[in-house]
């Protein structure tokens, strides 16, 4: 009747984990990791999102139908971002590599 009642210590544990991850992602931003800074920031944000969705939003105890709807939403978001990037990233013709150009015909004026 009242659905799944989650113990308080689980909620507090998730809260503390989220605070630690917030500190971690802020700390990592002050270290030069090159392109891995962006990867680390997004990976930590992804973990935090999973913690909030699974425990605070009760997805861990939700029906399969609800989970499929949520997954479909994120899948659609992935399509939006990935396919737009494949377009923008490939809009310009790459320069033709040397040696690939067709041999120029000999000028006719010399004959």
């Amino acid at each position: 009747m009242t659905g799944h009642v989650v113990p308080v210590r689980v909620y507090v544990g998730i809260f503390l984990a989220l605070l630690v991850l917030t500190g971690l992602t802020t700390g990592v931003a002050f270290v030069d990791l090159g392109p891995w800074n962006t990867v680390a920031a997004l990976a930590i944000a992804g973990v935090k999102m999973m913690l909030v969705a699974l425990f605070f939003m009760h997805l861990r105890w939700s029906s399969s139908l609800t989970r499929i709807v949520v997954l479909a939403g994120f899948f659609w978001l992935a399509i939006l971002i990935a396919f737009t990037l494949t377009d923008v990233g490939t809009r310009y013709w790459s320069p033709t590599p040397q040696g690939w150009t067709a041999p120029t015909p000999a000028p006719a004026a010399q004959r």
Partner: protein
């Protein structure tokens, strides 16, 4: 006739709509409906996230310079405040499940207060500061340097994304206020907690949006 009406009334409490066979089914439908709405919200914010990704890809140095103009400590503090409000919201749902009216109202009030702290920090310490630093596009933007146009573009995204997020926070605070008024009148006594549950889903969703906005806007520019 009169005797037959009594069990019917007991089976169908006033908060159970007649087209649902039991309260479990009604709660399940409500939760699923809220998630469908949140999926449309994912796409709503997703357009901005996709736009941000593309322009960051096209103008990376300018976006990194713009990111470094934000004050990371306010973003980090606000992240912690919002995570705290998600905890109080989760505990409010738990109190409603257990039928504890006073605890429910208390946790909802705490959620509103933390939400207002977030908005206060955003307005008072960040947006007004940005305005004085001439970083608001369309309101005397000026940041002389090689990347000025790209930095202005970054701040367009910054204000649209944080502004839309703040708008969702304001709506959320309004929803919480309505829930408190309903709880005070005993609307959620006796196992009827679905409105609290779905409002909680909305509040946690707004939290998740910020969980991504914080690193994307404040951190990935590099602070070293």
């Amino acid at each position: 006739m009169a005797e037959a009406a009594i069990p019917r009334a007991a089976e169908h409490p006033p908060y159970l709509a007649h087209h649902f066979s039991d309260i479990e089914q009604q709660n399940e439908a409500g939760t699923l409906g809220m998630w469908v709405f949140l999926v449309t919200e994912i796409m709503f914010f997703g357009g901005l996230f996709a736009g941000y990704t593309i322009y960051r890809y096209l103008y990376l140095p300018g976006f990194e310079a713009g990111s470094r103009l934000l004050e990371v400590q306010f973003g980090a503090i606000n992240t912690a405040v919002l995570i705290g409000s998600s905890l109080t919201m989760a505990l409010a749902v738990r109190s409603a499940q257990l039928g504890r009216r006073k605890a429910l109202i208390g946790f909802l009030v705490l959620t509103i207060l933390l939400g207002l702290v977030f908005l206060g920090v955003k307005f008072n310490f960040e947006w007004i500061h940005d305005y004085h630093e001439h970083l608001v596009p369309g309101m005397g933007f000026s940041h002389p340097g090689p990347h000025e146009p790209a930095i202005q573009l970054f701040f367009c995204f910054y204000f649209f994304m944080t502004g839309l997020h703040a708008l969702h926070m304001i709506v959320g605070v309004g929803i919480m206020a309505v829930l408190i008024a309903m709880a005070a009148r005993g609307k959620f006594d006796g196992g009827h907690y679905s409105p609290i549950e779905v409002s909680g889903l909305y509040w946690h969703f707004v939290d998740i949006v910020w969980i991504f906005l914080f690193p994307l806007l404040y951190l990935v520019g590099g602070r070293y």
